[in-house]
């Protein structure tokens, strides 16, 4: 009887601790993350300044060079993400956020991030909304710059990521606009960066 009561109290204590963790640690983090993902790609006039209180990391983001023929890299503060997936999500969110002149993004406006997955082997799957296809201006070069903006943004900033595959609306695609083979993850390629 006595032992039974002790067990019941122990179970209640553990359940209480789990509840406290869920309510005060896990749930707030989860909702913050969901909110971040939800606002990605929303039309904002300029890159959203990161919240003053949040931790930041320095990341190299990629934009179209003045010549229009290559990418150029720019160092930016990006919100800190706990773990590779969260950090990858923050980097892509910052990379596809609308920018103002003189920066020009190779990712079509309106493109939203749906999800990021990372395999154990370091292959990242970046799932974007259909706007990345439907709003793309086309051309081999335009497509190259879009693809390697995304590939390089992750592989350059997160060494654990060796290759990136772009998914559209959760599905594998052959190409974005009829040129670059996207059926397999692509490795970092800095030849398209000046």
């Amino acid at each position: 009887m006595n032992a039974g009561r002790k067990l019941a109290i122990g179970v209640a204590a553990v359940a209480g601790a789990v509840l406290v963790f869920v309510m005060f640690v896990w749930l707030p983090r989860w909702t913050t993350r969901a909110t971040t993902a939800g606002t990605v790609g929303a039309a904002a006039p300029a890159p959203a300044p990161p919240a003053a209180s949040g931790r930041k990391i320095k990341a190299r983001l990629f934009y179209v060079a003045d010549s229009g023929m290559k990418l150029t890299s720019v160092e930016r503060d990006v919100a800190y993400g706990e773990g590779a997936v969260a950090q990858a999500r923050e980097i892509i969110s910052a990379q596809i956020a609308p920018v103002v002149e003189p920066l020009v993004s190779a990712v079509p406006p309106g493109t939203a991030l749906r999800a990021v997955f990372i395999s154990e082997g370091g292959e990242a799957f970046v799932d974007l909304s259909r706007d990345v296809v439907s709003s793309h201006s086309g051309g081999t070069l335009g497509e190259l710059l879009t693809v390697y903006t995304l590939v390089n943004a992750l592989t350059e900033n997160l060494p654990a990521i060796t290759a990136v595959q772009v998914l559209v609306d959760g599905k594998e695609v052959e190409t974005l606009s009829g040129h670059i083979d996207l059926r397999r993850p692509l490795a970092k390629n800095l030849t398209w960066v000046q």
């Binding site: 023929m69 082997g121 799957f125 710059l145 290759a163 599905k171 606009s177």
Partner: protein, 526 residues
């Protein structure tokens, strides 16, 4: 030869090779598509279902064939277990979790009545990672090789060359072959456990006086049925990347007007010799111009057919200029001009992958070139940039993401192997890598074309570049993609539609083709 593998296998494998023939010879309705499983123990067939252009296989069939435990869980999850390892599928997701790792599939699992269907790639991309024998999916041949069997894929090509003819037989991965002459045929015996060979091995063609047919003799042997003019042969073999290439030159018996018996064919025409402008039907049939090159192991260095691919089409307009011009219209207009000029002035056959405003899938474009044995593939496009000032024409040839492929093979047992490992989709990779063996000539043609374009049209800097271009990767011939200029640049958009620009571009292409052909005919690398 590895005697341990051969003795008990041929009967089962011969039936695999003859599967299509057997099925089609019976007076039954067209056979349902099936995936043939080939293992040391024998073979069996798994029925395939085609849904939304995907070849799907039943999870229950896979469970039986591979001793898998399949369980339907709550919330649309399905678990597939094998010896303590688990794959988790979700009913509406084209991603599966293999022992905790995410792997993508071309389509989500689909329910068909009480059964679950999964794309065949599930076998190579997911099941192969947890199964304890090698699984090598040959999707084009609908073949799954289980274990360490050596089953090279065989392709046969025949090129009549004047009075002689050349058979090129590729075995991938490499397999040595032994050629012997019987009374009326040659036998080619491969050092392998079985052959993955199309049926028939050589597509039907005009009756040849040297060669009648190529057929499968048994599990590891092909037979070449010889024609009445056959007098002798010369065989050489050499490795080309992961392929063993066997070249058999069939020599013809002397005719009334031919050369003396036993005389080898004369050397190729001297460099720069112009070909006849057109092929007149009244030309006397003999003696045909002998042009057997002196080196073996290379594709016959002649250009008979050129495939021109006008980019985009139908509801895929490509790049649209603000002033109205669409990429699909510019590329079609230029392609038609190229066809007219090359056919009229060089007498070569020019194929267009589309000759009107319609959608053509990327795979189909390359397939048209491959199936018609084109000797050169030229894809025409107009470019787009996020900056309006970008301008100039560029020429691309294929690049392969070797780093990614290398990562996939070198990362240890946890990685998704591709090259040679066979656990991912090895056949997909091989088909996609068809262009690798032509890269030198593709690069050479790109350089030639750049020199011709340089003083005639505005060029980008650099003018020649490389990229993982989907339409070039599977082209089994030298192949380039030309971006003729930028439709996102208003000045260029106007220029690209003018007769002057299009004619200059066509003339450059024409001159590049002539130089390419002449250099090949001279036996050199352009």
């Amino acid at each position: 030869m590895h005697p341990r593998k051969i003795p008990f296998f041929p009967a089962a494998v011969a039936s695999v090779l003859a599967l299509a023939a057997v099925l089609s010879s019976q007076t039954v309705p067209a056979p349902a598509p099936a995936l043939t499983l080939l293992a040391r123990e024998g073979r069996r067939a798994l029925p395939l279902t085609i849904a939304a252009n995907q070849e799907m296989v039943g999870l229950d069939d896979l469970a039986t064939a591979f001793q898998l435990a399949v369980r339907e869980e709550s919330l649309g999850a399905i678990t597939v277990s094998y010896k303590g390892k688990t794959i988790v599928l979700t009913s509406d997701q084209p991603l599966v979790s293999v022992s905790g790792r995410l792997v993508s599939l071309p389509a989500a699992p689909a329910r068909s009545g009480p059964r679950w269907l999964v794309p065949v790639e599930f076998i190579s991309r997911a099941l192969a990672l947890i199964y304890d024998a090698r699984l090598d999916l040959r999707k084009p041949s609908r073949l799954l090789v289980i274990g360490d069997l050596r089953v090279p894929r065989i392709t046969v090509r025949y090129d009549p060359l004047g009075a002689t003819g050349r058979l090129t037989i590729d075995a991938t991965p490499r397999a040595l072959a032994n050629v012997t002459q019987e009374t009326d045929h040659l036998t080619i015996k491969f050092d392998a456990d079985a052959l993955d060979v199309p049926n028939p091995p050589l597509p039907a063609q005009e009756p040849q006086s040297l060669l009648r047919a190529v057929r499968v003799l048994d599990a590891t042997t092909l037979a070449i049925d010889l024609g009445p003019r056959f007098a002798g042969f010369k065989a050489t073999s050499q490795p080309v990347d992961t392929t063993s290439r066997l070249v058999i030159d069939l020599l013809a018996a002397q005719t009334d007007t031919g050369s003396p018996p036993g005389t080898p064919p004369p050397a190729a025409s001297p460099p720069g010799t112009p070909p006849p402008a057109t092929s007149a039907t009244a030309t006397p049939p003999s003696p045909p111009p002998p042009e057997l090159p002196s080196f073996f192991g290379q594709a016959a260095p002649a250009i008979h057919t050129i495939a021109i691919d006008p980019g985009h089409g139908g509801d895929d307009a490509g790049v649209k200029a603000t002033a109205g011009a669409s990429e699909k219209d510019v590329t079609l207009a230029i392609a038609r001009r190229v066809k007219g000029v090359i056919e009229a002035r060089l007498g070569l056959r020019v194929l267009l992958t589309r000759d009107d405003d319609r959608n053509v899938a990327i795979n189909e474009r390359t397939a048209i070139a491959n199936n018609n044995k084109a000797d050169l593939f030229i894809s025409l496009h107009a470019n787009g940039s996020m900056r309006r000032s970008t301008s100039g024409a560029s020429i691309f040839y294929a690049a392969f993401d070797r780093d990614a492929a290398q990562n996939a093979t070198s990362g240890g047992a946890d990685r998704v192997p591709t090259f040679g490992g066979g656990a991912r989709d090895i056949e997909l990779v091989l088909w996609d890598l068809a262009q690798t063996r032509h890269l030198d000539r593709s690069a050479a043609f790109a350089e030639l074309l750049e020199r011709q374009l340089r003083d005639r049209v505005p060029l980008a800097t650099p003018a020649v570049d490389r990229a993982a271009l989907r339409v070039l990767e599977s082209a089994n011939m030298p192949a380039v993609l030309i971006e003729v200029g930028y439709l996102t640049n208003p000045e260029q958009a106007t220029l690209l539609t003018t007769d002057g620009f299009q004619n200059a571009l066509v003339q450059s292409l024409f001159d590049a083709v002539v130089k390419f052909r002449d250099t090949l005919a001279a036996g050199g690398t352009p």
